[in-house]
Symmetry: C2
Subunit: 308 residues, 2 copies
């Protein structure tokens, strides 16, 4: 899947990913009204509204982008119907040729991590039959439990040619509380980055590894160092736009080959119509606003890459 | 819920929790056969088998124990039908008076962590209606992202009187890779423990806090230190039994009041009939084997507590 991701990035010339992190408050009223009319003011109704919202955005932007990143928490909060919409979104995006990064931040140990890997990247055998539980292409994984938590994911990645992005340095203000603490004279996130590089070596695609890393756009100096520590890992970069990360800050997350990073925007794309800049589209044409926001984001990032 | 947990522990005189972490390989053939006959060799069939297995065990042990801890990964691997069984198990256990600890190890930031907190501990508003997505009493949470990841859980805990157990020192062999690294002369897990104590102070029940911690049974010396660092936090202790933790090692996880810790066993209870010790029960009477294993575990732990 890392090869497919790179192929998609090359084809679209767009090292970006659209975060499908729907909140009810993002969804235009004409969509929720219709969903509630059909399913009532229920979890099913909310999940239907999310699905219609996602589908319209995916249809509007899928020719421009290589990948999407649905954030499972936003679906899990709607219970079972929400997770049905998550699965439906994953399937639909894959059918449109997009690579799907499940932002699930799972992480446990041994057979439990193996179960998460099966759920999101693998296949499950039931009697003589084989099933794909959620079927994303990549999953994000939390490293706090160490190799015991990561290894079961690596096994599934190798078997299924799928991938993971391991949290190294997250984009949030308090990410430094533990991640930046100094260990043997160096911040913890560098040590995590070194382990990522080790895991990445053991799980290579053609040029890049199936094992990538998450490094927030909001810490560009750290991104520069981590780029060097994990040369074969794709970096998934959250924090662009709404969280404050600027395109010019992101050039050092890329390698000399122009590859190596994929920048996420969620709210900035899916709720674009709520921004003053795109307000002229109106709520009825929210998906067109999202398309324009994608065009602008690609230009912004490629512009910064061109002058580095 | 911390008050209810303590009340349940006092009533049963059993500071233990049964981990409902079903694997298909644990489930006796007569149960899977019946489930597959009804639903086919499908995810639905597997999820039905898990449900029947869980229900039989819960019915057999619920008068002896204060709480259960379903591990959501084991359900997530069966996709949507698996998560339906997770929800059904949570609801059923609560209806039997048990406190339910959702072992979900979630953790993200801001609105995403808030969505996870809603999913597992909170309520969701859809239009004029309010829904409980999964409705556990406690959830386990990963601290790697810092306060931004924890605070949304604290807000829901205060509002709903529910609780969390934050991963501090996990039971697995490689937990030391990051958790034990020395920061300012002290291991990282102690710093995490100090933050837990801070968060716990801000979220108190009657005597103990809504904010607890996970500390593995396999590291008793660290448990002793962490007990002191987090005096008001309940410690959820995995790693007893199958992973090698012994009752005598666990006495220091408890406070002088005899409270403060709850010891988990999963495989050792739910797959007891597969052990030589309980083989005489046979697969048909697997739930009776689980009951005997619970009786033995309570005696083992209370025996160790009595002589400390």
């Amino acid at each position: 899947m890392i090869n497919k991701l790179i192929e998609n990035i090359r084809k679209t010339d767009a090292p970006i990913v659209v975060g499908l992190d729907p909140m009810l408050s993002y969804i235009p009223e004409h969509i929720t009204r219709k969903a509630f009319a059909e399913f009532g003011e229920t979890l099913e109704g909310a999940a239907e509204a999310v699905w219609q919202f996602n589908k319209a955005i995916v249809d509007a932007v899928c020719d421009l982008i290589p990948a999407v990143k649905p954030q499972i928490a936003m679906y899990e909060q709607f219970g079972i119907p929400g997770l049905q919409t998550f699965k439906r979104t994953v399937d639909y995006c894959r059918s449109r040729g997009l690579v799907v990064i499940g932002d699930v931040k799972r992480g446990d140990i041994g057979s439990t991590s193996a179960a998460y890997a099966t759920a999101h990247l693998g296949k499950l055998q039931v009697g003589q039959q084989t099933f794909t539980p959620f079927g994303e292409d990549f999953a994000t994984v939390n490293p706090y439990l160490g190799t015991d938590g990561i290894k079961p994911f690596l096994d599934v990645c190798r078997e299924e040619k799928k991938g993971i992005f391991i949290l190294v340095k997250t984009s949030n203000p308090s990410s430094g509380e533990f991640q930046d603490r100094t260990v043997d004279g160096r911040p913890l996130y560098e040590l995590v980055g070194e382990k990522v590089a080790e895991w990445a070596d053991s799980c290579m695609g053609e040029v890049y590894s199936y094992v990538g890393a998450v490094v927030g756009a909001t810490y560009p100096e750290m991104g520069k160092v981590l780029r060097r520590i994990m040369p074969k890992s794709y970096i998934l970069v959250p924090g662009y736009g709404a969280q404050g990360g600027k395109a010019a800050d992101l050039v050092h997350y890329f390698n000399e080959d122009g590859l190596g990073a994929i920048v996420n925007s969620s709210r900035g794309i899916i709720a674009a119509y709520k921004q003053e800049k795109y307000a002229a589209f109106g709520a009825e044409h929210f998906a067109d606003a999202s398309r324009q926001a994608v065009v602008d984001m690609i230009a912004d990032i490629n512009g910064a890459l061109a002058v580095r």
